[in-house]
């Protein structure tokens, strides 16, 4: 299969999944007891049945479910995600600014995780076996066992007691004041990074062990290259591919983690927006967020797959 055919077939396979998630996002929200109009009116009793009927037709609730879905899906295709019930703002506006925060948080977490995982994973592969190995396994499994929100809570507690100047949590956008922004983002990013670092460390270790046994490394050493150079230039570079793939596969996990972390640190990201939306029963908002975030995760996975096929041509033939 050539590159072009692979890309096309991979793209085509994405559409049924996108359709599927749109149906799931739509249905879960529409199966919640009570429709939008009832939620909006709450306990108000000064509304006549005619007015309710009028509202129902404005929001399209009087139509059959499949027609409501078709209208919504059509609007989404035109980039119109509707309006938030509580703020009256377009969902695209709310989501746009929230996605920037979540994106930055996720990116910082990936960078932090790599900074921790690459040296540790390489070290434990080179000094493999024995006590160091067991400690590495113990620590990485422990890191994966700590609930992110508890870790975040403990970090806030610790910082407010011992490093008070770090404990300001009023969000500032990166482009307004990068230093202040990073100062606020560092703790949430570290919280989110821990689990990923544990996964990446083990992946780095496994990939390095795999590469270290390869012939070309023996050749490199036989040529008399210094071992640090062999390690950095020949081994680590080749071991990076599976590590990067794992990052791609973990995007969904990271976004899920970000939802929780944002709520711990009250960052105005997507996770905070969706939980607020649920608390305020702002269902159009929740429905669009669920769909957009799932779609983004799918698209990122698609990109990772395509990059991977580009880097490693063997993929296309399997």
């Amino acid at each position: 299969m050539g590159m072009r055919t692979y890309i096309i077939s991979r793209l085509l396979l994405t559409f049924p999944t996108l359709f599927g998630i749109s149906v799931v996002a739509f249905l879960t929200i529409h199966l919640i007891p009570g429709n939008i109009v009832e939620v909006m009116l709450g306990t108000r009793s000064d509304v006549t049945p005619q007015q309710i009927a009028q509202l129902n037709s404005v929001y399209g609730i009087d139509k059959p479910l499949w027609q409501q879905y078709a209208t919504w899906a059509g609007n989404v295709l035109h980039g119109d995600l509707g309006f938030s019930l509580r703020t009256g703002l377009p969902v695209t506006t709310l989501l746009g600014s929230a996605l920037q925060v979540t994106g930055e948080l996720t990116l910082l977490a990936i960078i932090l995780a790599l900074l921790i995982a690459l040296p540790l994973g390489t070290y434990s592969a080179v000094r493999g076996g024995g006590l160091g190995d067991s400690v590495g396994r113990l620590v990485s499994l422990l890191a994966l066992s700590i609930p992110t929100f508890w870790l975040g809570t403990l970090l806030i507690l610790f910082v407010s007691l011992y490093i008070p100047w770090l404990s300001s949590f009023t969000f500032v956008p990166f482009f307004d004041n990068p230093i202040k922004n990073l100062q606020i983002m560092i703790l949430p990013a570290a919280t989110l990074a821990l689990g990923l670092a544990a996964i990446l460390m083990r992946m780095t270790r496994a990939a390095m062990l795999d590469v270290l046994g390869k012939d070309y490394l023996r050749t490199a050493r036989a040529k008399g290259l210094r071992s640090s150079r062999v390690l950095m230039k020949h081994a680590l570079r080749n071991a990076m591919l599976p590590v990067l793939t794992i990052i791609g596969l973990q995007v969904g996990y990271l976004v899920g983690g970000a939802v929780v972390v944002e709520n711990v640190f009250t960052l105005p990201g997507v996770g905070r927006l969706v939980v607020q939306g649920i608390e305020q029963r702002d269902y159009p908002l929740v429905q669009s967020i669920v769909f957009v975030v799932a779609a983004l995760v799918i698209l990122i996975n698609l990109l990772v797959d395509l990059c991977y096929a580009w880097i490693d041509p063997r993929i296309r033939y399997s």
Binding site: P16, T17, G20, I21, V23, V24, A25, T28, I29, L31, I32, G128, G129, D133, S134, R137, L138, L141, L142, L144, S145, I146, P147, T148, F149, W150, T153, L154, I156, L157, S160, L161, G195, L196, A198, I199, A206, L209, L249, Q250, G252, Y253, V255, G256, G257, V259, V260, N263, V264, V274, V275, I278, E279, V286, V290, V293, A294, V297, I298
Partner: protein
Amino acid sequence: MRGLIQESVIPDEGLPLDGLAGRAHRGPRGALSWLRANLLTGFGGVLLLVFFGAGLLGPWLEAHQPDTLYPLSVLQAPGGDFPFGTDDLGRDLLSRILSGIRVSLSIGVGSIAVSLAAGAGLGALAGYFGGWLDALVMRVMDVIVAFPAILLAIALMTMLGGSLVNVALAIAIIYVPIFARIMRASVLSVRREQYVEAAESLGAGHARILIRHVIPNSASPILVQISLAISDAILIEAALSYLGLGVNPPTPSLGGLLIEGQGFMTTQPWMVIYPGLALTLGVFGFNLVGDSLRDLLDPRQRRR
């Protein structure tokens, strides 16, 4: 939160099934020496025993009822009559943690049991019959798996409302595709085995072949994932409770206890430290045991 479950490393067809079989013939004595060589696994096993023990024996260990109020001992520091202190309503934290372990465990085990049954069943049918059934089932699974787990759980909990059964159900739905994919891959390789062909030629029906031959022989890859899946399920439940979408109060899960304690963490830190420790250690036990189990089957991850 699917950090540990690596369905992606399992190839679509053909699994190294002899990994487990090779060890099985060693018998119980062999298993014991294997355990001795795996101190960490043993440690994980002990943690699990304590966790399960605390959950199952909780009602007999509790010195107080988890929901009895002691208005004269509100927010007491650990010690004396209340080894782990009391909360803002004067309830004994130790008893509440014990009953929280019970709730977290029942959700973890219950949800994974349901998704295991559903996922294994669907995966086996898809892998065995192939064709349009396979395509249909697996595309639906693709859709479910496309959602970040927490986000799907949030959406489902909004729809279902917060009861113990609903939380377990939401988490079960998240795990169905993961088990289905693993089972399908395993069935695809097993159904080409000669004993399946032999059963077919003897005139056995599909149901008999599936239940007697294919499923038992394809089960190990999925069984080794159970422990890791339960640890994930417990963490997801905790995160849902934290976001206010978990089991409704007054039934406390470990995650619910943490959110109750959050407002008091600077002045009464024990309210967040003890439930968090219980949660982390329990999940750690499942992870240690689950990680070793997975090593048995996946030679690529095995330590050298």
